[in-house]
Assembly symmetry: C2
Homo-oligomer: 166 residues x 2
Amino acid sequence: MFQKQKRHSELPPIRQTAEEFTVVDGESYLDEIFKSDMGISRSFSRFQLSHEEYEENYGRVIRGLLATGKHKFFVAVDKYGRYLGHVWVCLKIDTVDFVPSAYIYDIETLFPGIGIGSTLIERAEEWARKMGTMKISLRVDVNNPARKWYSEKGYSERAIIMEKLL
Amino acid sequence: MFQKQKRHSELPPIRQTAEEFTVVDGESYLDEIFKSDMGISRSFSRFQLSHEEYEENYGRVIRGLLATGKHKFFVAVDKYGRYLGHVWVCLKIDTVDFVPSAYIYDIETLFPGIGIGSTLIERAEEWARKMGTMKISLRVDVNNPARKWYSEKGYSERAIIMEKLL
């Protein structure tokens, strides 16, 4: 009797294999990245949108962001190549400092606390530095506990997004 | 003897005529708007740039912003049509709430304290509301005293821009 090659369903649960993650180029994982992000991002919206409306607007936002700047994706994967998290970084001229800058548009991990986010953000910074940018920025909601995490990573608070309902 | 029509140099100093301002469509004042803004914006940059580098990057940023969304400019003028201040507002889908939103990219006045800024921001909000947007947002540096002014106008703090030098 020969051992058959494991089918996908026979792989160990992803939670068990997540700790031995590696980070790879994310360009071939875009479908998975945006599927994962679309679900998570919805929880940040303060408005009630139908599923169709949300999907359409989400698509327009992503296409709009991708239309400007130079983009890079990194993905954390387990040893079976399964998606564990990603970072999306974009280079453009900063609208306040007017120098080449990097923006982290998105950073997410399925399993917090095992270093995936830290590795992804370091990889994004390393890439941005290599590309000649002078700073890296991101946006975080005022009540998001991630503010503290970014602060520990050396990020300081530069500006406030203020808003008013119409 | 007939009174000759006043030449431009014979107009009263703009400071004296500023208080009786009116707000008009800004599209025919774009040169003046960007000339004024380019000087003011430079003071917000934390980087040392040569004049040429700054001008080039400023132009790229402005063209990049103008390439997306629907834009509207309002200008405050004195009774001689002289520029006193402006607001630049842009409509697009918000990247966090995924609803049609307005962004105040820029609001400036040559003479603070006489109601020019208040009138401009109200006009921008009124236009955005009429265009069907659900909220209006802006970015302000953490140390900018304008934070208090925006807060008095009904703007609340939604998100933080964090950054790190590379």
